[in-house]
């Protein structure tokens, strides 16, 4: 039963017929937006704003900043819509812009000597209360555990992990978004999974 569920999850990442129809629709919206149709661009925003803001939030771990950077992402997207190649998937293109925006923000925060990573002790403190079964773990606590574990990953691993696990991007799409080679992103993904397992695995096994 679990195996079946896993297959269903994995299938979400595969570009299928439904995804294709979405892509055609996105192409139409892009075409209209390029001609200055703001309503078409608003539809693009409604369709992709949630995955984009989620992806940015996973990188910066700050809600207000994530919304601000999402706006910046869509403004930049509008300005460079005409550079979007027809063979590029709109979501991939948007994630690419979002990645750049988030990285710029992270660089700026690092320059301001603000520590982005959370202290390991915070995670340890949380785990000191003892493992709690996933079924009993409150959603809020689960979110905190995952979010803190994510924040402890290094930038490249976090990028690849979130694009694969949360945004269901294919390896090719991740390579296009990040500019990494497939072997590198596979390695980063494997190491990210291993690190994440060390931090959240006890909640899974319990």
């Amino acid at each position: 039963m679990k195996r079946l569920a896993a297959r269903e999850i994995s299938l979400e990442g595969r570009p299928g017929a439904f995804a294709g129809s979405l892509m055609n629709s996105s192409a139409d919206l892009v075409s209209r937006a390029c001609r200055g149709d703001q309503e078409a661009f608003r539809l693009i925003f409604e369709r992709y704003s949630r995955p984009v803001i989620s992806f940015i939030y996973d990188q910066v771990s700050d809600r207000e900043l994530a919304e601000e950077l999402m706006q910046e992402t869509f403004v930049r997207a509008f300005r460079s819509l005409k550079t979007l190649r027809s063979e590029t998937k709109l979501s991939t293109w948007l994630f690419g812009i979002a990645k750049n925006v988030a990285r710029e923000s992270l660089r700026a925060r690092i320059r301001q000597n603000q520590h982005v990573d959370l202290d390991d002790q915070q995670v340890l403190d949380l785990s000191d209360r003892g493992p709690v079964p996933v079924s009993q773990l409150l959603n809020k606590e689960l979110n905190e555990v995952v979010q803190r574990a994510l924040a402890l990953l290094d930038e490249d691993k976090r990028l690849v992990f979130t694009l694969k696990v949360f945004q269901q991007c294919s390896y090719e799409e991740i390579a296009e978004i990040t500019g990494f080679s497939i072997p590198k992103l596979k390695t980063d993904l494997h190491r990210a999974r291993t690190e994440m397992r060390q931090r959240v695995g006890q909640y899974v096994r319990a």
């Binding site: 679990k2 569920a5 994995s10 996973d58 689960l142 696990v165 959240v200 899974v204």
Partner: protein
Amino acid sequence: MKCDDFLNLLEAYVDGEVGEHESERVRTHLMTCSSCETEFEALTAESELYARYDRELQISPAAWNGISARIATDSSAVEPRERRDMRGWFAGLFAVPRLGFAFSGALAVLLAMFVVGYLYFRAQPNQRLLVAGAKDVRPGSSPISVQPQRSVTNSGEVTNPENPPPDQSTVAASGKEPRRPRAIPDDPGVLFTDAAYTDMEDRDTASHLDQAQKLLVSFRSLPADDEQEIDVSYEKTESRRLLNENVVMRRDAEATGKFPTKSVLGSLEPFLIDIANLPDKAPASDVRQIKDRVQRSEIVAELRSY
């Protein structure tokens, strides 16, 4: 296939990144390998956990309003291409160029060379004038300009150069190209053509005569009482140098009507010729002969009185 190979493949299988053939092999292996089955269970459970991850993000309506406002600003900022191009072209006329490091360095070196050159020539104005005058040097003529004896006004009237018509430039009557007028700061409005050059010419002549006088005094002091040969190599060399100058100056003095100068140079010249034609080891009789002539002619006194 070993379990290690399957474990590497397992993540790709969970990610949906393997083909149908590979997927079938993984499924077959999982049914027979408990350790790989355990790993697969763990990956699946983690995927379920991550699927439950809710960031609790709310997208406020203000988000789109902010984007819309910024997009509208961009749209209103769009101008007709031609107008933008014209404005860009016009702005480019006054734009400060972006200089690369190499170009900036070359510019700095050129500027430094210009400043050094300017300071050098400013510190040596006389040399600069000599260099300028040297352009007119021709065989048999002085590098210093020729002062015309008569000038012709613009109306064609012949006038005396000592009393030129006021506020009128003089034109060389000798047919030579007129020299560019030079303003004298002490007397603005009055133009002179050769004043500075004439001064220089006088100074050069005076210096020449002074050197010649010293040479003759030196020659006159040579010991020529016995019949031994006398070493006059220095006097000979010096005399040849002065002779060349003397010929040129004498001709210039004649051309410019400086007859007293021409006269003294003309008196000096035979002595210079005689000394210049002596052998390095001159016979005492020849030296005495020249010394006697110098004494008799009182050329040294004439040179001193010039």
